[in-house]
Amino acid sequence: MRLLLLLFLGLFISCTAEKSSKETAKDNQSITLYTHRHYDTDKAIIKKFEDKTGITVNVVKASADELMQKLESEGDQSPADLLMTVDAGRLVRAKEMGLLQSVESDFLTTTIPEQFRDSDNNWFSLTKRARVIVYDKNRVNADELSTYEALTDAKWNNKILIRSSGNIYNQSLMASIIANKGKENAKIWAEGMVNNFARTPKGNDRDQVKAILAGEGDLAIVNTYYIGNMINSEDPNEVEAGNAISIFFPNQAGEGTHINVSGIGITKYAPNKKAAIEFVEFLASKEIQELFAEANYEYPVNPNAESSELLKSWGSFKEDSLALAKLGELNKEAVITFDEVGWK
């Protein structure tokens, strides 16, 4: 019996044990990246980094919340060097939870504008996405559009499409409105939006664009990144829907269009901090920033980087200069407001 148990245990370990990263990180050059981004572009970029520096990048992909939970539980034993998310809010939260550390890099502080990095340099934005209004070219005239707030006007009754409030991009938009206009006004705005919904929120951003083509509503609030992807999709239906709409950048006369960022921070217990900084600097470099724009339709944060043809064709716009940290701080408040007004 004892033999059987031993055999069992031995098999269990031998079948599954691989070399630890925490160990390997110290012997040779490798870093571990926890990321919520799972784009093919990122894979190609990581490959470029590995070829250039000889540093191996181990990637763990899951949702930001799960990764943060993992980091917190792992504590100082964590193999992770970097945490990468698709929104600023999670990075702010990670900082609050004490999962990140301050980084000193002249390159990063000079390259990335102040608005797009943490005040203590705990995290850095890498790419920007704008949350814009898209509208049907025939049914809506661009002159009728102005701000997010104007969408609560009675003329848009039963015309607005947007996804559910469980989505982080909507939560960030709401947080920005709370920050800019105050909690009371934000709640009034949300109520007005709910009244004008063409349907109960459902599906993802792309589904909202498709619903415009299907005539379920006239305009939608979506992320620019998805429009780029739809226009270049392999699926002819998506291409058609992507081409049937125009993009409008709201709030140009006021604070500017709401933007959110994808960013990265170095973890508090990073086993290989030096290589991790090198990786972040690489991602912020002009060449890689242009790749983000070209292949993944995200706006670069590095002002020296050119954005792609497609992004340029949408025109330049005034960005909301609200400190991104606010989005994280007000995230919970935003969700509570959504619940209060019944935004599903």
Binding site: L67, S164, N204, Y226, E340
Partner: protein, 558 residues
């Protein structure tokens, strides 16, 4: 007072009654209950700060939706599952055995993938809509993204659980029952509703129980359709309201409800235990009535509906998307991922089946019967939302690592983070019930006589297990191994959070693209996953057919 004396009485005889098996049961039981205990531990901290908000604004709504979903899905999958099972058991027709196997296959498609395919099929410019327009129907789209749509998707992906349960019962009915009914003048309709259905009800309810579990655990499909359920509420509480304490509380309520349901099912089964007694009678001759005439077409369509909506149409949609993205998505890296999935699934399924056998037999040999409550805990993992199990496991493994480094000075972190040990452990916790239940049920069928004869002939318990009991159970072992294997291949939340970075599975690969709203790109890994699972399922159904002989074998031994 009486209880107290009872406990002291038990403790007094602890030494007398315990044996080595008690120790092993205790060890395995504790080993498996670690995540459940750690979640229990968090409950003592009370609810979190957002509890008031949760109960005011969404708890009621979320519970209501979950109840509607459960009722709707149960009703629809019950109708589909039992009618299909009845027809394939009672009648003979062309392609019967092909259709019988096809009816298993909806289980091969993860429900969130099925949700995406239905929006692709029936949405604006959808594939199926296009065909319907071509035959002259003036349709623009059929709205799937609502609660009816979700009931439809979940029912067609989960009805095989009911189908399998019903089919096993219908096939084992003694011949004498139908003969008596017919002699007494019952029509076949009356026979079905008044006799066959009530007799098969324990198995059907067992199947429905699994359907309800899956409905409660579904996150992807409900989230995509914008339906707020209890499970999406747990995630909202955890991630958006940043209140993990309340999220764990909500999970605990869910687990309590499922426990209650489980007790109800057990109670019902015991009440209807005549269904078990009849299996000792001579099983019905499997001579099926040949279908003909108008009836034939009606029955064919009853069978084709689930095959079409549960498997063929979603697969056609995936094939179309796969065709669009084939050139970018199909490469050797994907095959490596497929092999990795198979390997991890195989290793984990092996451990799960071994663990089930140990738990079944050790607890039988153990004399301290009260230790057997661990069996209950062992099956609890099937109902806790995956992400919550993930938290429980990460937290408890962290405590173990800290213990080793603080008190023993050993760094064992690499064992946990650099390998699949934790992931496989999580699979064991999650899926033990899937293999434990059939192994326990079938091991009871053979009775004690053979094992006792073997002990009389001076064989040890272990030797008897390997020489007699396991060989008798071989069919059950293989089929439960494969069922666990299939579940692991489809598993998503635990795999995402606990896997080492060198590992990727087809499910995580497909999810990555779907999560980024690139459904067409998700199709190729999803199709590969479905193909592998389908092969396994077809093998299981073939294997079960051979197995149909074995109850007879068992009877002979008694």
């Amino acid at each position: 007072m009486e209880i107290k004396t009872k406990v002291t009485f038990k403790l007094k005889h602890l030494k007398r009654d315990s044996n080595q098996w008690s120790f092993y049961v205790l060890a395995i039981g504790l080993f498996i209950s670690i995540p459940a205990l750690s979640i229990l531990f968090y409950l003592f901290n009370g609810v979190g700060e957002m509890w008031q908000h949760i109960t005011t604004y969404f708890l009621f709504d979320y519970i209501k939706n979950s109840v509607i979903l459960i009722l709707g899905t149960s009703l629809l999958s019950f109708s589909i599952g039992t009618s299909a099972a009845w027809i394939v058991c009672k009648y003979d027709f062309r392609f019967r055995s092909l259709i019988e196997s096809l009816l298993f296959l909806p289980l091969a498609i993860p429900s969130y993938i099925m949700a995406y395919t239905y929006v692709g099929l029936l949405g604006y410019q959808g594939l199926l809509i296009g065909w319907l327009q071509a035959i002259g129907l003036p349709l623009q789209k059929i709205e799937m993204m609502n609660i009816q749509g979700l009931i439809w998707v979940l029912s067609f992906s989960l009805f095989p659980y009911v189908y399998v349960g019903a089919k096993t019962m219908f096939i084992s009915f003694p011949k004498v029952i139908q003969e008596t009914a017919t002699l007494l003048g019952a029509s076949s309709k009356r026979y079905f509703f008044r006799i066959a259905l009530p007799l098969a009800s324990p198995a059907i309810i067992g199947g429905l129980f699994l359907v309800i579990m899956e409905v409660l655990n579904d996150y992807g499909a409900a989230k995509y359709f914008g339906i707020n359920t209890f499970t999406t509420g747990i995630f909202r509480t955890w991630t958006a309201l940043e209140d993990i304490q309340s999220a764990i509380y909500l999970s605990a309520i869910l687990v309590a409800l499922v426990f209650l349901l489980n007790i109800l099912v057990k109670w019902y089964r015991r009440k209807k235990s005549y269904a078990l007694r009849i299996t000792t009678l001579e099983p019905e001759q499997r001579k099926r009535v040949l279908l003909s005439g108008k009836k034939k077409y009606v029955y064919y369509s009853i069978l084709l509906i689930p095959v079409l909506f549960g498997f063929l149409l979603p697969v056609i949609q995936l094939l179309y998307w796969g065709y669009l993205t084939f050139h970018t998505m199909f490469n050797t890296a994907l095959l490596t991922i497929a092999l990795q999935s198979l390997f991890v699934g195989g290793v984990a399924a092996f451990f799960i089946v071994t663990m089930s056998i140990m738990l079944v037999y050790f607890s039988r040999w153990n004399n301290l019967k009260y230790l057997n409550f661990f069996k209950r805990i062992a099956t609890i993992g099937y109902v806790i939302p995956g992400a919550i199990i993930g938290i429980g496991i990460i937290r408890s493994s962290q405590s173990i690592i800290n213990f080793f480094s603080d008190y023993i000075g050993l760094n064992i972190g690499f064992l946990f983070y650099g390998s699949s040990v934790v992931l496989i452990y999580a699979y064991i916790f999650r899926f033990l019930a899937v293999s434990y239940n059939p192994i326990e049920a079938n091991s009871l069928k053979f009775g004690k006589y053979l094992s006792e004869s073997s002990y009389l002939l001076a064989s040890s318990k272990i030797k008897t297990l390997f020489k007699i009991e396991l060989p008798l159970l071989r069919y059950t072992l293989v089929s439960s191994f494969l069922l666990v294997f299939v579940d692991i291949l489809k598993e998503l939340p635990l795999t995402l959070i606990l896997k080492p970075y060198t590992l990727q599975t087809l499910a995580t690969k497909s999810y990555e693209y779907a999560d980024d709203e690139r459904v067409a790109e998700a199709a190729i890994p999803a199709l590969l996953l479905i193909a592998i699972i389908s092969c396994v399922m077809i093998f299981v159904s073939y294997w079960n057919k051979i197995n149909e002989k074995s109850p007879k074998e068992a009877n002979r031994f008694e």
